[in-house]
Symmetry: C2
Subunit: 309 residues, 2 copies
């Protein structure tokens, strides 16, 4: 039931209408592990950091079951740094700084013990690197999930098309799904994208929930209407981490179980936004997660006995 | 189980990326009756038209159970006319023409036989007129629903505040809820708005579904992910009509039944957008409606057995 996670581990500086932090731990790989760690303790992380990184944070990742043999530490170099500022409505943000640092020449190499992982999620990095990671696997994982973003569609569409053929599941947001498919309707977009390779597709709609497509089926998971969103950073990766962690722990790839994984992922994302960075993910208990899932159940529950016309 | 509907009956000219119509029947009262008529045949309509209006359309409304005694016909005057053009994404539209015509000095008067209606929905008109209509009722309806829009918040907030105290349910979209409450979070917006009067609140989120708030409960109804949206005009009124028609036919104001009404309203709206104007609402059968509701059931269905931590 091992879950191989490829993604960034970074420093973030974030400003929201509710406050500001100068240097906290972020990155897709970091959020995914923080979230998945609530479901599985057999994670393997591939990433790169500078020697400025906080040792305590690495120890925390280990404490929740993350093997960090695949985390390269570059002596004398700085970790990836991102800084952003959110608008009042929190749906829009301006990137203030992107210092790639160690990420600029990241060459992901899988340790031998990682090469038979059963579940693989490849976070948003250069699609050439994503393909390179997948190619190193000795056995085909049960499920390979991929994240990407508009940036790569703009500058590396060919490489992205290649990696799309190698994966089972693509996780993107609405805007990315539309750009990738050149279709406005998400139903049509889902058809076009799945013809490119992935047989499963998740379209994240932020505060409006998420859609899971597979064959001729579609599942809609709501987002929780929240009183306060404190910091949306990492919510998408936290969703993906909860989704993959749940699947890895249950090892059941039926559509019914994928739907459950989407709900658990959504629940984890709803915690993530309550505090800066991954702080809330460190604190939340399994009971709180189950209670939050109950809120999702109640939110969409209705009972109609259809009439025969 | 009579349903009193106050709203416009008008001509619309509509252009969408998929086609164009010069003069079709529209207006909130028209859409509400077309939709509610699938659930009840005891509707009473209050509106105003010119003598240019299409007699066949009035006969159609009568054929589905609409009493049109309250529809004033102004000799020598023209019916309300609206013209709009939708952008490619169909979420944005430009109003090209608004000719108030007969609506400019509309003075809604309820026929005696209307004054004991059990259900009342007051469409989007001047809040002063909305209050005037409600004041004419001889008996308090079981449920009074109100629609409004940003325009009235800009120019008639005081009158709107008065009418809000007179109603049970307000139906608005996200943007309107935010403007009315001055809160971005819809949860906070719902609290503020319900303190203004209505104990129920529906926030329509268009292609993202709808939220129903009552006391400490919230229900989220998804919108159907549609392959094609042909013409969104009237979808909101069609939702409201299906919602009120279902309630009027079942006469059950429990939260459970309100949730069902939201689903039936959403199903009706999903038909409305398939063709220009109210055309699809004229054609759709009860069996098609039930089948569509089944799609909503399947769309959000999941089954999680919560673990005890």
């Amino acid at each position: 039931m091992s879950l191989l996670v490829v993604g960034t581990v970074a420093f973030d500086a974030i400003e929201t209408p509710f406050g500001k932090v100068d240097k906290i731990t972020g990155g897709s790989g970091n959020y995914i592990c923080h979230s998945a760690g609530h479901f599985t303790n057999e994670m393997q992380l591939v990433s790169v950091i500078g020697d400025d990184f906080d040792q305590k944070e690495l120890e925390y990742l280990q404490s929740i079951g993350t093997d960090i043999e695949g985390v390269q530490v570059k002596k004398g170099e700085k970790s990836f740094f991102w800084s952003g500022k959110y608008h009042m409505d929190l749906n829009r943000r301006d990137t203030l700084v992107t210092d790639l640092n160690v990420l600029a020449d990241f060459n992901p190499v899988l340790p031998e013990s990682y090469k038979k992982a059963e579940f693989l999620i490849v976070g948003n990095i250069d699609p050439n690197l994503q393909a390179k990671v997948i190619s190193q696997m000795l056995e085909r994982p049960k499920l390979i999930a991929l994240d990407t973003m508009n940036f790569w569609m703009d500058i590396a569409q060919d490489a992205l098309d290649i990696v799309l053929k190698m994966v089972d599941l693509l996780i993107v947001n609405e805007e990315e799904a539309r750009q990738l498919s050149k279709e406005y309707s998400l139903v049509k977009a889902a058809d076009v994208i799945r013809k490119k390779g992935p047989k499963y597709l998740i379209i994240k709609k932020g505060e409006h929930g998420a859609l899971l497509f597979h064959e001729n089926r579609v599942f809609f998971a709501p987002a929780l209407p929240l009183e306060d969103v404190f910091d949306p950073t990492g919510a998408g990766d936290t969703f993906a981490g909860g989704f993959m962690g749940y699947l890895a722990s249950t090892r059941d790839l039926s559509f019914e179980n994928m739907k459950r994984a989407v709900i658990y992922g959504s629940a984890m994302a709803s915690f993530c936004v309550e505090k800066f960075g991954a702080q809330r993910l460190k604190e939340v208990s399994r009971q709180e997660i189950e209670d939050r899932v109950q809120v999702f159940i109640d939110l969409v529950d209705f009972d109609i006995i259809l009439q025969q016309a």
